[in-house]
Amino acid sequence: MILVFDDKGNYIGDKSNVLSATFACEERQPAASAFDAAPTHHPGRDDRMNRRDAAGYEAEATGGARPFVHSLAAWRRSLRPAARWRRVFTASVALAVLFSLEAIASAESIDYEKQVKPVFAARCKACHGVLKQEGGLRLDTGALARKGGDSGQVIKPKDSAGSLLTVRITAQDPAERMPQEGEPLTAEQVAVIRQWIDEGANSPADEKTDRDPREHWSFRPIVRPAVPQIANKGWVRNPIDAFIAANHEHHELTPQGEATRSELVRRLYLDLIGLPPTPEQLQEASSDPKDDWYERLTDRLLESPQHGERWARHWMDIWRYSDWWGLGAEMRNSAPHIWHWRDWIVDAINSNMPYSEMIRMMLAADELYPNDLEKLRATGYLARNYFLFNRNLWMEETVEHVGKGLLGLTMNCAKCHDHKFDPIKQADFYRMRAFFEPYFVRLDVLPKQPDVSQDAVPCAFDGKPEEPTYLYVRGQEANPDKSKVITPGVPELFAFKELTIKPVTLPVQSYEPERRPWVFEAYLTTAKDSLARAEKAVADAGHKHEAAAKKLEDVVKSAPTDDKARIAAETAVADASAELHASTVDLEAARFEMDSVNKRAAAMRVLWVKEDGEKDNAKLAEAETSLAEEALRLERRAAVAKGLRAVTDLELRLRKADANAKPALDAELKAARDALSKAEQAAAVPAKDAHYTPLVGAKPSPIRFHDDFKDDPPLPFSKQSTGRRTALADWMVDKRNPLTARVAANHLWNRHMGTPLAANTFDMGRNSPPPTNPELLDWLAAELIDSGWDMKHMHRLIVSSATYRMSSDDKGHEANVAKDPDNVFWWRRNTIRLEAEVIRDSMLSLAGTLDPTRGGPPVPTDKEADSLRRSLYFFHSNNERNLFLTTFDGPMVTECYRREQSVVPQQALAMTNSRMVLEAAKPIAGKILASLKARASTVDDATFIGSAFVELLGNPPNAAELQASEQALAEWRKLPKASGDDAQSYFVWSLLNDNDFVTLR
């Protein structure tokens, strides 16, 4: 047995299934044959790959597709000299083919559909199909194959030897052999084709040609469809409903009636702000007598800042929000402080920023608004893909999820080969990658915080503007085709306009961010604050010392013979004295630090004046030199003072430490002394041989692409950005882009309605099921664009439709159930298993304990159990996820284009037993009761039950439910009082465990 791997190290298996594995990513190739038995890493194979690709590019560059010519001789004549070098011959391969041809002969006749067509489809159609007809030849049907190409017939029925097709697929010269891309056809495949030709090259008469991908629903330009004329006009509230009603009428379905008002109120609250109404809000909305109560409620909720928190989470799923993760404290993925991006999303939604603008900012705010930290937060979208160790994986993820999340395209399928279903060539994957190739991540200093480890904005920036992109042969990182640099571009089918990439000249504050006014301010303020703290510490220590001295004096006076008391007092004085000394040293360090920051700032300012135009000003130069020297001197003094402070501090601690702690402290002290002596030595180096440490306004995130345990050299900030991402963003949000608006409209629909119109939200390509109502999706997409990408407009439109307002109930609609059991045509509303965050937030909100604080750093994992913040603010990464939220399908950070709506026993355990649920029951009961008591003097069980039902489940109880509830309340009351909660709290606990509490009907 021969052990075989592909070049990426993937085990492929033993030699019998080599080829099938090589191409297995999308489609399994037909069974392997004798020829395939060659191990994959046969050196000749890789050589061929390189040559083939080189050939492909050349053909492309010269605009010439070689015609499919009659004979070998004719073809040889047609060979351009430049291409002759390619005619390197791999004898063993060709011999293997020829040899096996005779070996594989079949007695049975060939089944075109099963044996021939799949080979043409898999290996030939990319160039000889509906999208592309090299040499005028198409092979998507038997008839077209028999028809031939520009140079006539390629098949002579009953004469395989005389058929050009056979000649070309068995050619020995790789430059001549078809297919040009990939492996040669297997001996078995060749044998099948020959036999098929010899048997007459028959194919079914009714065989259909492939559909043109340009005609695929999501690839066509978005044209707003006419709103259908329908009979059920009374039901229609807005054009959405006309599209839905047209389907109802076509399929003879009767739309379900409107949900109850309490259901609608709960639906709007949970959908738009992610929190249920309070009893008062519910009461208000339920008793609003005006006709437009629904519209006014919708408006009010859309204007609530909680709307941003709710919908941000949806987009965070799709845009793959993740807090940083790594191994222990080593940050390997995403970025520290990435929560600024989360806050930007919330803000953008609340301010109703157009979706198009959101995309532009996320992809290119560093080029569009290079100095605006507020907007730069948006590029967290890109910073999130950061991966410390491997650039290729970082880039692949970026391309994959820009494709899936924003375009509904599985670009990732074209990493190793042309896409099997969609018009995306392998090169397109790398063209898309080229937009992102230059970008890296940096942390920009925020006002008030110079230390980027404490807080900063993670931003994208073009750190390697000159970095070339190469196509990786078969997707293998180790095998780049360096013969051609790939330039940024989009798949041809979507190139509705010439992509103009204009380099962006950045303002100086972008590439020298220390010039931003708040940067020095942040350093100075911080230094000032620590100086103030140090001064206070000295004063405090002074008072303490005084008090201790006074005490000693008293002891000596009042009890001169009490040695024990005296010794204690003396020790206290000594301790206080040491502390005073330490704080004095600290104060000195703080003063030097303050002076050093001031002086460095001054030196840098002078430097800028010089750089910005007065290069030859001798006086300035002199001033700069002297300031720089002074800055250096102060910085060194500060360093020595800090070192001294550390030593003093440790000495103090050592004095007080018990024997066990001493060895460790001793070691620390030794290290601190070493550091101090190093600082002292450094201070002795002549100023002309050293330079002060400049104050920085941004820090590039470390990268370690070289597997040597060291950070790569930090990337410089360039004066120019490539402009590539701006160009990409502008193409994406261009009105003519057929994908962007459709993808967004589908997400909006899905998150409002629980089911998308196009089932596969991240893949609208040809291998996905078509939308259930393509006209409606197109209409929504057109509406999104024409409204100026107005998200709140879209929310309003969807929630105000009769479709949205229907009941989810199916009772009484047996005829509908029989015709459309899965509710494909929206004759009722679908129920939704509420998102994890909504379930948790609802409980806290109903209990009145929800902490409404917005934004800021995430709640760390170990604080979550006691936190009352909205779930959106919990630390959420690949490694750290909240257990309760995960139990209810909280998003995976790697990919979450749709929320799962699972139903598993662990959820039941979480709802029955978790502290959060148990603790929420009592205050929820209390709130409901309080609200009732505000309206009536006495509250009977039935009233309480009714109110709790509506509040928690969205509907009042029916008679059976009421009776069961009353009975349970009575039983609880019979229990001995000792057992804690009251009957009403127990009752609320039961309702929290009702199916409808976690369900949106």
């Binding site: 052990l3 190290g9 026993p905 039941a908 355990l909 148990l918 029916n958 804690g980 465990n993």
Partner: protein
């Protein structure tokens, strides 16, 4: 037509079938995929694809990388050439780039250990098969005639991401893929309505926390602790809750959900939720009983090493595993030495480490094998001893061995496999798997075969699997 007749309610189904879920895969019951009926694709129905040999799997995974040369793969040449650079021995060609090519580096690895490090412990022959086992595992050695040892494993990740890889078959940089236990859970129906069918015991490192992945969280292992007070997450009220009050509350929510079923007869998720609550209640009742060993004899407890402070932890996990298998749990996934890189990660002090680790696992594992055999359960229970990779023939830090992916050992026992056989081999210094090499998914394929599942039939639309994902069953060790 009366609607409720056409769609029997969940309750009716549960009561009429008596066994509730029996025979159906959870996926079939709880499946809510929108592709569902319209695409013609259906999730597995819970029946094996062909007659199965094994019903349950006890999967013991040694985190950190067990040294094959100090466990189940003796290499005398290592001792003979100990202290020499590999390049100065007849085995210099193990470093040929072609052979090392399988490695896929995603995070930095240390330089290759190239000075041969002698075997740190002796081996002796055991049983009728005379298979050699290292002195650190005498009790397992005594059971060697039950084992099918595969000495020719290889993998591709030289770092501990290989732990995930052993469970899912994929290098972690490829993304996250369902683990073997999840596939089995997805494919096979339940044997016991009162217990989760896929249980995970022991600390799992972060990269290996989930199982179901694209199959859905339904197929994640249920984490279980051998702690009668808190065996499952949320297994008991986290706040004091009077039992009688709780009973009334549970009865009420049962009643309310049942009434709702009449209100929404076609609501599939409602039916699933009612079923999930029932299973949760039963799990809550049943699990503590399973991990309560009071009814086990002293002899049995001793067999698992429960009287030995070194062996007690792992012994309890294995005894619990036997009890779960007895009650029909499909897959018990135990992580030994989990947390950080893993206890078996002997970069330093390999010899004392192996002695200690042996004292932790030898008795429990032998006890499990003997106990299963004595109860006639070994034939239907597949016991797996696996690890993410082996360790280098060369020394590291003077007294340790580094990670080694090119050849290592795992073994399996029971479940219709041959007994007392060795399959495959590494070269004479334990570097390369040279005879019948197997990638980790070949172990998966073997287990799936014995469980009666054909992996290709479990494919999910839209989720392409590679050849490598399926692996090939190791026919030579199947009885």
């Amino acid at each position: 037509m009366n609607h409720s007749e056409a769609t029997p309610s969940r309750r009716a189904f549960l009561s009429s079938s008596g066994a509730g879920f029996a025979g159906l895969a959870l996926s079939a019951i709880l499946q809510q995929d929108s592709l569902g009926s319209s695409s013609g694709w259906l999730p597995p129905d819970g029946r094996p694809h062909f007659a199965s040999k094994a019903k349950s799997v006890i999967w013991m995974f040694m985190n950190g990388g067990v040294s094959h040369m100090e466990s189940f793969d003796p290499k005398p040449m290592l001792t003979k050439y100990g202290g020499k650079m590999i390049t100065d021995t007849p085995y210099a060609d193990v470093f040929s780039p072609k052979k090392l090519k399988i490695e896929r580096v995603a995070a930095p690895i240390a330089t290759r250990a190239s000075t041969l490090f002698p075997m740190q412990d002796g081996f002796r022959k055991y049983g009728e098969s005379g298979i050699e086992v290292c002195n650190n595992f005498p009790r397992i050695g005594a059971n060697v005639d039950k084992l099918a040892i595969v000495r020719s494993m290889w993998t591709t990740d030289s770092n501990h991401g290989a732990q995930t890889q052993f469970h899912s078959g994929r290098h972690f940089v490829d993304g996250q893929f369902p683990t073997l236990g999840a596939w089995i859970h997805y494919g096979l129906g339940t044997l016991n309505d009162n217990l989760p069918q896929f249980i995970s015991i022991g600390t799992r490192p972060y990269w290996n926390i989930r199982d179901g992945l694209y199959l859905g969280q339904t197929h994640d292992a249920v984490p279980l602790r051998i702690d009668p007070k808190s065996p499952l997450d949320y297994a008991a009220p986290e706040k004091e809750f009077a039992a009688d009050a709780r009973t009334i509350g549970i009865d009420l929510s049962r009643k309310l959900n049942a009434i709702k079923e009449d209100r929404y007869p076609a609501d599939k998720s409602l039916a699933a939720r009612i079923a999930s609550y029932e299973l949760a209640y039963r799990m809550q009742m049943s699990v503590p009983e399973v991990i309560d060993f009071s009814k086990e004899t002293e002899a049995t407890k001793k067999l698992y090493g429960l009287d030995d402070p070194n062996a007690r932890d792992f012994g309890s996990q294995l005894l619990a595993s036997r009890r779960f298998v007895e009650r029909g749990v499909r897959f018990i996934q135990i992580q030994h030495g989990g947390g950080g890189a893993g206890a078996w990660d002997a970069h330093f002090h390999l010899r004392p480490a192996m002695v200690t680790l042996g004292s932790w696992v030898d008795k429990p594992i032998a006890g499990l094998l003997e106990d299963l055999e004595a109860r006639g359960m070994l034939d239907e229970t597949l016991v797996v001893f696996a690890t993410e990779f082996g360790r280098t023939p060369g020394s590291q830090n003077g007294d340790g061995r580094d990670h080694h992916i090119f050849g290592f050992t795992v073994w399996m026992a029971g479940g219709g496999l041959k007994r007392g056989v060795v399959h495959g081999a590494t070269d004479e210094i334990g570097f390369q798997a040279v005879e019948n090499p197997h990638y980790v998914t070949d172990i998966h394929a073997t287990i799936l075969r014995q469980m009666g599942l054909e992996p290709r039939k479990l494919d999910v639309p839209g989720r392409k699997r590679l050849e490598i994902d399926y692996g090939k069953a190791i026919e030579e060790i199947i009885a």
